[in-house]
């Protein structure tokens, strides 16, 4: 099953010559990659399909392939599980909020870097620092920043002029904020870099032409630069929103979905369901639903990218 065993090192009963005849050269060299992906993605996906129709729990002591079928009751339950629905809604909220914040910050920042000034390169290097940090460490840093006796509370108390000790991470209303801020902090730099690259690659002469035709900066930005930048913006937003949709690391480190289920995102919900409550069948159904939605989105995205790639 391992990828290496399937790669061009040929099973004994097939001679090299026969293999070459069977599989054209170009297919043969794509095989290792293909088989790895199949092993790690396709086979589990098939297992998920099976599991989602069962109520299997590893604690029951029967092997998963002999689990009892419950057909589509898992899906029924999911739709009626307020915790799941809330997790989905919360995840979408996180995606929308983070995308809006990241995009606006990134665009605003990138526009400051259009013309050349001393230290520009160094400034860019510092600003993109967060995206290089290991996500778990970034979350760890935010964990410390948002501690009830941490620097954030101290800064707030300086601003409002009285002591401020608020336990951000254990407050059901506010605990999501540090998670989102951590995500925004870490990934705005990427958006910034993408938008900046897009801006730098804009055909300078079109902007120059608009300038000579007498257009103001605002008009040039809205009428000429923004439309030209659209493909880059769309790619950046799509790539980022798909990544944000999967958000797990900061949630796990900062709150583990708590307090209660107040910060549970889809990934966290599924982790808790599978690895805390061991409801594998149930979570498999959720996984399959998410997969279907993601694949649908991917399909749309790939068509878009395909067009851009030409």
């Amino acid at each position: 099953m391992a990828a290496q065993a399937r790669s061009p090192a040929i099973p004994r009963f097939v001679t090299a010559r026969a293999f070459r005849k069977l599989v054209p050269f170009n297919v043969a060299i794509a095989l290792p990659a293909q088989l790895t992906v199949l092993t790690v993605v396709l086979v589990p996906t098939l297992i998920v399909v099976w599991l989602s129709l069962t109520d299997w729990q590893p604690t029951e002591g029967i092997p998963w392939y002999r689990a009892d079928l419950v057909w589509f009751w898992n899906y029924y339950d999911l739709f009626h599980d307020a915790r799941f629905v809330a997790a989905v809604a919360r995840t979408l909220l996180v995606v929308v909020a983070c995308m809006a914040a990241e995009f606006l910050l990134a665009m605003g920042l990138a526009l400051l870097f259009l013309d050349d000034w001393p230290w520009r390169k160094i400034a860019v290097s510092i600003i993109i620092l967060p995206m290089m940090v290991v996500s778990v460490d970034a979350a760890n840093a935010f964990f410390m920043l948002f501690n009830d006796r941490g620097p954030i509370n101290y800064l707030i108390s300086l601003i409002i002029g009285r002591p401020f000790e608020f336990a951000w991470l254990s407050d059901p209303t506010w605990a999501l904020l540090p998670i989102m801020l951590s995500e925004i902090w870490q990934w705005t730099p990427l958006m910034f870099l993408l938008v900046l690259t897009g801006l730098m690659n804009l055909p300078e002469n079109q902007i120059r032409a608009a300038y000579v035709l007498g257009a103001s900066r605002t008009r040039i930005f809205l009428r000429v630069m923004l439309p030209l930048l659209m493909p880059v913006i769309i790619i950046a937003l799509l790539v980022r929103s798909i990544e944000t949709f999967k958000i797990f690391d900061p949630v796990y480190i900062l709150t583990r979905g708590g307090p209660g289920a107040a910060t549970e995102t889809i990934s966290m919900f599924m982790y808790n369901g599978a690895f805390v409550y061991f409801r594998i069948g149930y979570i498999a159904a959720a996984a399959l639903m998410i997969l279907v939605v993601v694949i649908a989105i991917c399909f749309a995205l790939s068509r878009l990218l395909q067009r851009h790639h030409r």
């Binding site: 920042l109 290991v134 778990v136 870099l193 797990f248 690895f275 996984a287 997969l291 993601v294």
Partner: protein, 296 residues
């Protein structure tokens, strides 16, 4: 592009950039600063920005089991602490897994990318199939993978994680290397073919030397992803194999996050190699993270 700014506009711009720089670097500063604080400064209020008595004790706890035991004995009760093992083990495991997965991912990725670019294998939409893999939420795959791995006795092994990491970084390898290969005119290989070379030989002899910088960048990029990975490490291991990210999380969870200085020390050392590699390939980050769609 637009001619000169007015003085106050320029001033405003510079100030904004400075604020952005401060915000971008502050959490990292805090992480590093805390890692050098003695225990009593961890939670002082108002916070200690830079310790006046910096100590290496936190790092000692992270790396030397003996120092950790002493510390645990002293702090028992005040701060619950029960992480065993040293960071050396985590670094070793992460190095083995990340390196092996990187080598496989880049090797398989190079071959597949070559096949896709030069032979148009699988048609226009074939590379997108790999992209889809990256779009999958790993948590959705992890559940059955745990089941599958336990059946195949792959859970909590190096090989299991290597396999998972290879598969989930292949999209990056393929797409990045593909964009590098596409920048080499096909006529170069064509010439080698016409003058008598076999295809793979021609690729290795003619095209590869021209893209090896790009392949190296891809490798570093993939290594960073592997090193930083958390979810697979968390779910596919049960204690025998420990990656650095897992070790960080262990410190956080072991003490309900109260072990600030130690957490910070572990965080600092685990993130430094990644930042270092990240700056080496800074030019290629955009290409990588946008799957080759946006180039410099």
């Amino acid at each position: 592009m637009f001619g000169a700014d007015k003085a106050w506009v320029r001033w405003l711009k510079r100030t904004t950039v400075c604020i952005a720089i401060v915000i971008a670097s502050f959490p990292i500063f805090w992480l590093i600063s805390t890692s050098f604080k003695p225990v009593d400064e961890w939670q002082k209020f108002p916070p200690v920005w830079i310790s006046s008595q910096p100590t290496l004790q936190n790092y000692r706890i992270v790396f030397a089991p003996k120092a950790a035991q002493e510390f645990a004995a002293k702090q028992q009760g005040a701060i619950g602490y029960k992480v065993s093992g040293s960071a050396w083990k985590a670094f070793g495991d992460s190095a083995i897994i990340a390196t092996a997965a990187t080598v496989l991912s880049v090797l398989f990725g190079t071959l597949a990318a070559y096949s896709i670019v030069r032979f148009h294998t699988g048609g226009d939409s074939y590379p997108f199939q790999f992209l889809t893999v990256r779009m999958f939420p790993p948590i959705a795959v992890v559940v059955p993978m745990v089941v599958l791995f336990s059946m195949l006795r792959l859970s909590d092994t190096y090989f299991g994680l290597i396999l998972a990491y290879t598969a989930f970084t292949l999209p990056f390898s393929i797409w990045m290397i593909r964009s590098f290969i596409e920048e080499v005119p096909e006529e170069l290989e064509g010439a080698a073919l016409i003058y008598g070379m076999r295809p793979l030989h021609a690729f290795l002899k003619v095209t590869f030397p021209l893209i090896q910088g790009g392949v190296l960048a891809t490798a570093l990029f993939v290594f960073i992803l592997n090193w930083s990975e958390f979810l697979f490490a968390l779910t596919l291991t049960t204690g025998h194999v420990v990656t650095v990210t897992l070790q960080v999380a262990n410190y956080v969870s072991a003490s309900s996050g109260k072990l600030y200085g130690v957490q910070a020390a572990m965080g600092t050392v685990s993130t430094l190699p990644v930042i270092f590699f990240g700056y080496i390939i800074q030019r290629h980050l955009v290409r990588g993270l946008s799957f080759g769609a946006i180039k410099r």
